[in-house]
Amino acid sequence: MAKSTQLETRRPAAVERPPAVRTGLLGWLHQNLFSSWFNSLLTVVAVLLLARVIPPLLNWFVVNAVWTATDPAACKEASGACWAMIHEKYRLILFGRYPYEQQWRPLLGILVLAAVIGVSCNRTFWKPWLADAWIGVLVVWFVLMWGGVLGLPFVPNNLWGGLPLTLILTVIGLAVAFPVSILLALGRRSRMPVIRVISVGYIELIRGVPLISLLFMASFMLPLFLPTGASIDEVLRAQVAIIMFSAAYLAEAIRGGLQAIPNGQYEAAHALGLTYWQTQRKIILPQAITIAIPSIVNIFIGLFKDTSLVAIVSLTDLLLSMRQAIADPLWRRFFVEGYIFIAMIYFCVCFFMSKYSQYLETQFDTSRSR
C-alpha cells in the first residue's frame, strides 16, 4: 500500500523546450550556406557561376529582346530574342492550318476542355454527373471543331492542328486507355489462363514496340487489311495507336499498385460476401490506383509529350505546327524562340499534372487526419 502511494505522489518529469537554434536570416545563412569551409566554398563558386550565367540570359530573354515588330529586320539588328516572331505567328503555331477566321472555335474548344478538366480536379465534384459533363463537353468540342451544323462551316480534320489536336489526342487517349488498362492489369492477375495469356500477350507485344512503329502500322498497314473503299479517319487511326500504346503501359503501373495490396484485403472482402467485381471496385482498385498515382502520372506526362510523334503520320500537332510556322523564310532564323514557346506550353501542362498528382496523393493519404 505504502508503495503505491509513493508511486502516485511521484511528480511527472518537467516538460522542457527543445534546445534553441539560431533563427533569423543570419542563422539560416549559417546553417544552409556556410556551415563548413567546404560548403562556404561551394556557395562562393555557385554565386560566381550564377553571376556569369544570369545576366546574359536575362539580356537575351528580356532586355535586348524584340517584343513587337511586324518586320523581321528589326529582330535581325537586335541581339536579344525575337518574341515578335511569336507575336506574328502564334495563331499558326497554336491552331495550325485551321481556317484563320474560324480559329475562335478551337480556342473556345480548348477553354471548354480546360474548364471541365479544372472542375474534375476537385474531388468534391467526383459524382456521376461529372461523367455526363465530360460527354457533353466532348460533343461540344467535336461540334466546334468539325462544324457543319448550327451554321458553322465544315472543317475536315486534316486541317486540325496545333494545341487543340495535341490536347484532344492526350485527353481521349488517357480517358479510353485508363479503363482498358485496368481490365488488362486485372486480366494479367486473373486465375483464368485464357484471360491471363491474352493480357500478358497484349501488354508485352505493345510494350515491345516503339510508339512510332505503332503509329506507322495504324496509318499505313491498317488500310491494307480493310476492304477497298473503306477507310478510317487519319486522326482516329493515330488516336487508336495512342490508346493501345498507353493502355499497355498504364496496365503495368496499375499492376504494380495491385501487387502492393495485402491478401488480407481480399480475404476481408470475400468474408463479407462481396463478389469479385465488388471487391475490385470498392476495395482493391481504389487502393491500388492511389499507390500507383506517381507512376500513372509519369505515364500521363510521357504520353502528352509523345503525342508529338503523330507528326510522323502527317498530323499537325503542336510541335509540327510550330515548325510549319517558322518555315516562313522571313522568320526562319528565329526557330529557337519557337521551340522555347512550345516548350513553355508543354512545361506548363506537365507541371500542372505533376503538382496535381502530389495534391491527390495527400488527399488520399488516410493515415493522417485531415
Binding site: G264, E267, A268, A269, A271, L272, L274, P286
Partner: protein, 253 residues
C-alpha cells in the same frame, strides 16, 4: 430449398471427414466437428496445427479437398451461389484486422450491408452506429482505420462483421496482434457478444476467455483434433499427453 431453412435441431456448422492439403503437406486430417446453434467453441493448439485453416474452410477462404462442410444447412462445394450464401451468414474477424484503410470506420461497416444485402444507405448507417456503440467506439465513426489503435481497429472489425447480421462468427486469433493492454477491450466485446447467444468459433490462446465463455475447447495438433471437452474438464483433466504438454507450456507463465 428446405435444406437451407434452419431448424432447431440442425447443427450450425458441420465438418464431416474433412481433409486438406497445401501441396504435399497434409494440413487437416479427417476433421469431424459439429457446432450447434449458440455454441461457443474455442480452438487452441501449437502454430501450424491447422486451427486457422480449419475455421477458414468454414467460409471457404480455404478450399477443403475431401469430406463435407455444411454451414447452416448449405453445403460448401464449387457452387459459387452456395459460397456466397454461406459468406453472407458467416462473419469473420482476422488477426490483423484487415480493415479497409481507404474507407472511414462507418464506411467500413456499411459497405457490405449496402452492396451485398442491398440495404438502403441510411438504414445501413443506423445499424452500423448501433454496432459501433456496442463495441464502444461510436465517436470514431468518421475516422480512418489508420488513425485508431490496434484494439480500436479490432473492435471496428468486429462491428463490421456484425453489421452483416451473421448467424455465425469466426475469430482467427483476434488478439494475437495486439499490445497487452488492448487485449481485454477486445475480449470484453467478444464476451458481450457471446452473451447474446451468437454461435462462435474462436481460435485463440486466451485461456481466461475460454474458461469464461466456451462451451467446448478443442485442442488441435498436426492437423488433427486431439481433444475436445468442456472447459472445466479440458483444463483440469486433459486426457492426452500432447494436450497436457501444450497446456503446461501456455499456462506456465
Amino acid at each position: 430449398m428446405s435444406e437451407s431453412t434452419p431448424n432447431g435441431n440442425q447443427p450450425m456448422v458441420q465438418l464431416i471427414g474433412v481433409h486438406k492439403w497445401f501441396g504435399q503437406f497434409h494440413v487437416l486430417k479427417n476433421i469431424d466437428l459439429q457446432v450447434d446453434k449458440g455454441e461457443r467453441i474455442v480452438i487452441c493448439g501449437p502454430s501450424g496445427s491447422g486451427k486457422s485453416t480449419m475455421i477458414r474452410c468454414i467460409n471457404r477462404l480455404e478450399e477443403h479437398q475431401q469430406g463435407q462442410i455444411i454451414v447452416d444447412g448449405v453445403e460448401l462445394t464449387h457452387d459459387l451461389k452456395n459460397i456466397d450464401t454461406v459468406r453472407r451468414e458467416v462473419g469473420m474477424v482476422f488477426q490483423h484486422f484487415n480493415l479497409f484503410p481507404h474507407l472511414t470506420v462507418l464506411e467500413n461497416c456499411t459497405l457490405a450491408p449496402v452492396w451485398v444485402r442491398g440495404m438502403p444507405k441510411k438504414d445501413a448507417e443506423t445499424t452500423a452506429m448501433q454496432y459501433l456503440e456496442r463495441v464502444q467506439i461510436p465517436e470514431q465513426a468518421s475516422k480512418y482505420p489508420g488513425q485508431l489503435s490496434g484494439g480500436q481497429q479490432q473492435r471496428v472489425a468486429i462491428a463490421r462483421s456484425l453489421c452483416m447480421q451473421p448467424n455465425i462468427m469466426l475469430f482467427d486469433e483476434p488478439t494475437s496482434a495486439l499490445d497487452p493492454e488492448m487485449i481485454s477491450e477486445v475480449l470484453d466485446v467478444m464476451i458481450d457478444l457471446a452473451e447474446t447467444g451468437m454461435t462462435m468459433l474462436c481460435v485463440t490462446h486466451e485461456m481466461g476467455f475460454a474458461r469464461k465463455v466456451a462451451n467446448r475447447v478443442i485442442f488441435m495438433d498436426e492437423g488433427e483434433i486431439i481433444e475436445m471437452n468442456e472447459p472445466e474438464a479440458f483444463f483440469h483433466h486433459p486426457q492426452s499427453e500432447r494436450t497436457k504438454l501444450f497446456l503446461s507450456q501456455i499456462l506456465s507463465h
